[in-house]
């Protein structure tokens, strides 16, 4: 298993999929760096994962440069041209206010990506410390934290998110909070399980024998070794968050208009499906493609990081 590496938390691959290569530390000839390098190689061999990763990078670029890419404003109505089918001028048609569907979808990508990543940051910030403390400290603390996690786990997630959202009100930041508050449970459990196993390992014993304090042991030795499942969990958490946002906006408690969100676009227009199919179909495709990409990429990352896979 990996020995200590400096600033281990920077090794979290950005689930945007970009610089996975940064996970390798060429100057360190340890087995740890080999693990990451092996993983990288295995990931590249997985075609679906690469396709997913590329799509994710593209989506991230679209989200970042939405202002540049979008041909029109996402708020500007054109009351002369409502509900138009795709044309050369409006490649994906116009919506109920005559707004350009393509532009709205491009801005919608921004919401989806922000939610996917933003929520995962909160999830990691809550879940990993709780899991780590629970596993490392053990005893009564562990018991309390684990029971708490169990209770949280017992809530149906979407219902809980809707509850939180209805208390906080709709909005992007509130979606982060709601998804963060409800999503950390799985990652906390995994972290705890890892920490439990790793803290008994010889290298941890060794570090402790050399006089390392608990904090240092946990952050420098235990957690970095527990990183693999966390990384995998995050890559799967992102699409889940995106989908949850879409679901929330679909039922109308997610993003407030006029900010576009794919789920909201589908939700508002599903009853017009037979009259104006393009309003529903294109955002649905966007959601589906994003979900698939993250799932393929996540699968690839999991397989790549699995030491049993050669």
């Amino acid at each position: 298993m990996a020995l200590s590496t400096p600033a281990s938390d920077t090794r979290l691959p950005a689930p945007g999929g970009a610089p996975v290569g940064a996970l390798t530390w060429p100057h360190e000839a340890t087995r740890g760096s080999t693990l990451w390098r092996d993983a990288w190689r295995r990931l590249l061999r997985n075609r679906l994962a690469v396709a997913g990763g590329v799509t994710i990078i593209l989506l991230c670029l679209v989200a970042i440069f939405a202002d540049v890419i979008a041909p029109q404003s996402y708020t500007k109505p054109n009351f002369g041209r409502l509900y138009e089918s795709p044309s050369r001028e409006y490649p994906l048609g116009t919506d109920q206010l005559g707004r350009d569907v393509l532009s709205r979808m491009i801005y919608g990508a921004r919401v989806s990506m922000l939610v996917g990543l933003g929520a995962q940051i909160i999830v990691v910030l809550i879940g990993v410390p709780i899991g780590a403390i629970s596993g490392y400290v053990g005893g009564r603390v562990d018991l309390l934290l684990t029971r708490f996690v169990d209770v949280m786990y017992a809530f149906p997630r979407l219902l809980f998110v809707i509850l939180v959202m209805s208390m906080l009100g709709a909005g992007l930041v509130n979606i982060f909070i709601a998804l963060g508050l409800t999503g950390w449970v799985g990652i906390a459990r995994q972290t705890r399980a890892q920490v439990l196993a790793i803290k008994e390992k010889e290298f941890v014993e060794g570090a402790r024998a050399l006089g390392a304090r608990s904090w240092r042991l946990l952050t420098r030795h235990v957690l970095p070794s527990a990183l693999t499942p966390i990384v995998v969990s995050v890559t799967f958490g992102v699409p889940e968050a995106i989908f949850t946002e879409a679901a929330l906006s679909f039922i109308g408690v997610g993003i407030n208009p006029p900010t576009p969100s794919w789920g909201q676009m589908v939700g508002e227009n599903q009853q017009y499906l037979r009259s104006y199919w393009h309003l529903c179909v294109f955002p649905s495709i966007a959601i589906a493609v994003t979900m698939l990409s993250f799932t393929f990429f996540g699968d690839g990352v999991r397989d790549a990081l699995d030491p049993k896979m050669k």
């Binding site: 708020t75 109505p77 407030n256 208009p257 508002e268 009853q271």
Partner: protein, 576 residues
């Protein structure tokens, strides 16, 4: 006999107690007013049976399927209107003493004659002898005595029993102050005469008797089956139809009741009412699974432009007004200049385009064609759309040039009927014309109402559906500053209130309308509200559906809250 104001107040109280609320009360009151204070016809008025017109050939299969678009979205709790007027069941299963016709006037039904004593404190209903329950027992005065006492009996625990508190000792009995039901003032003098003694003069009582809450129950079925008595296997009906089958959450099947006195004029032999969520739109209708449905925004335009179906679509009366409430107590709308800017910035012609035909631009509360409608160019000009005027109005405010807006949230109730696209269009034109960035917030209806009545919302998108054709409803019931309950806006204006009071207390129709026009002018100038659009509603009926009643204005009328008498008039003609 005139119904005096104190009696009207009591009448309203009765209806409020059962949760009918001002709106429904006013519908009835409006019908009463239309008849010069007598909201009912005292003598049997043969219910206009529908007959095939010359050239129409009745179809052999008289099956009628209706629903969707808001009708029967949920499985009924029961069909027991005698116990719970909000049971959500099929009213056509029962026939009351009176019934509302297509003009919302109460006419005798199971009664043939209604007589009051001099002051209207005792009413005698003469019951027709030719109508029977579906088990072949006669519908007699005793059924109504038993039914109304059942509703009042505390053991029944009818949630809206206060509906009948006008009956002498009804309240006392319901509240267990007396225990002997024979002291309650409803008594069958014999099988064919029901004498109702009231707490005092109540000239409107026959109108109450036409309400769905006054429909009867059937003693033997209730005693045998308890709360399950309206299940298909147990129910006994006296209406034009009986319950053939009730597959819960799926469909309700009605069958013609051969024992109903007017059965010979009822053409339909079978009515199928599927339980359909509103989101299904007109799909079931287009798939030919329904013969009559209400239409929503997503479907209307398409059906109207479909050469096969455009003839099916018809508009039905539904006067209502969409408007904005800028809360005069909350920044930035506490500034009259800002409110004026908003009023001028709403591009109504364009906003209504998104409704796809279910709204037209509005310049006042009352839609054209109803009493009190305003066509005064002076008033129309007060809030007319003018981008330049809008921006100019902001001069001298902190928001000059459309800058420095605080966070603004437009709140609306979660509802179908194309409410959201209209709100989004308003949002878009305000952004375009005033650079006002607005968040649109859709609130759960209960939360919305609660916060609305606390006047806690900054900016509101809301509608008022007309209850009865009189401006009192459109101004007094909505905007009167001294209203204590159900007040939607914090805005008040002394001069405006004075006009409303004058309108209420004036008898001369012309002078009244002048007061209301003045009130509208004051309210628009002070921007108590911003009228945006008038509601338009459509339904679609297959070409073989005939006999839908028309009101005096010549419009088709379909089942709603007050009028529930549609089914017995409908017939099916041969599909040519």
């Amino acid at each position: 006999m005139r119904i005096r104001d104190e009696q009207m107040a009591l009448f309203e109280q009765r209806l409020q107690a059962i949760g009918v609320g001002r709106r429904d009360f006013l519908k009835v009151a409006g019908a009463m007013a239309a008849l010069g204070g007598l909201g009912f016809v005292a003598r049997a008025e043969a219910a206009n049976a529908s007959k095939p017109a010359p050239g129409e050939k009745l179809a052999r299969d008289q099956t009628f399927r209706f629903g969707g678009g808001g009708w029967f979205q949920n499985d009924p709790a029961s069909h027991d209107y005698n116990k719970d007027l909000y049971c959500g069941g099929v009213p056509a299963l029962f026939a009351g003493l009176m019934v509302f016709n297509a003009d919302f006037v109460a006419v005798p039904w199971m009664a043939t004659k209604v007589e009051g004593n001099k002051d209207g404190s005792v009413w005698t209903f003469t019951i027709r002898k030719d109508s029977r329950w579906s088990d072949n027992a006669p519908v007699s005065a005793r059924d109504f005595e038993w039914s109304w006492k059942r509703q009042l009996d505390p053991a029944t625990a009818a949630p809206y029993a206060s509906f009948l508190y006008d009956i002498k000792n009804g309240e006392a009995f319901n509240k267990k102050k007396i225990t002997d039901p024979s002291e309650v003032g409803v008594r069958a003098k014999d099988d064919w005469a029901l004498e109702v003694t009231l707490e005092g003069p109540r000239g409107y009582f026959p109108v109450l008797a036409a309400y769905i809450a006054a429909l009867p129950g059937y003693q033997r079925a209730v005693e045998k089956h308890g709360d399950k008595w309206t299940e298909a296997a147990n129910i006994v009906c006296n209406g034009p139809f009986t319950l053939g089958a009730w597959e819960h959450n799926k469909q309700i099947v009605l069958k013609k009741n051969p024992y109903y006195y007017g059965a010979k004029d009822v053409h339909l032999t079978k009515v199928i009412v599927p339980i359909i969520p509103g989101a299904s739109g007109s799909l079931p209708y287009e798939n030919n699974e329904l013969d009559l449905t209400a239409l929503q925004a997503g479907d209307l335009k398409r059906l109207q432009s479909d050469p096969r179906m455009q003839k099916d679509v018809f508009r039905y009366p539904f006067p209502g007004t969409w408007y904005l409430l800028p809360q005069a107590t909350k920044a930035p709308f506490d500034n009259l200049k800002v409110r004026r800017a908003v009023a001028h910035a709403v591009d109504r012609e364009n906003v209504v385009k998104v409704s796809q035909g279910l709204a037209v631009p509005a310049w006042s509360m009352i839609p054209p064609g109803f009493p009190g409608a305003i066509d005064d160019p002076k008033i129309k000009a007060i809030q007319k759309f003018d981008k330049k005027l809008a921006m100019e109005a902001l001069k001298g405010t902190p928001y000059e040039g459309g800058r420095n807006w605080p966070k603004i949230t437009l709140s609306m109730r979660d509802e179908g009927l194309g409410a959201k696209p209209l709100a989004e269009a308003v949002q878009a034109v305000l952004l375009e014309n005033l650079n006002m960035k607005i968040d649109l917030e859709v609130l759960e209806p209960r939360v919305f109402r609660e916060r609305l009545w606390k006047q806690d919302l900054q900016f509101v998108w809301i509608r008022w559906f007309m209850d009865y054709p009189d401006p009192h409803n459109e101004y007094f019931d909505t905007f009167y500053g001294k209203k204590t309950t159900g007040k939607r806006q914090a805005w008040t204006n002394e001069a405006f209130d004075k006009e409303l009071e004058a309108g209420r207390d004036t008898r001369d129709a012309k002078k009244r309308m002048a007061h209301y026009a003045k009130a509208e002018e004051i309210m628009q100038a002070d921007v108590g509200y911003v009228p945006v659009a008038w509601v338009v509603r459509y339904a679609a009926a297959k070409p073989w559906v005939k006999g839908i009643e028309k009101n005096k204005a010549g419009q088709f009328v379909v089942d709603g809250n007050i009028y529930v008498d549609m089914l017995q008039h409908i017939y099916i003609v041969e599909k040519g």
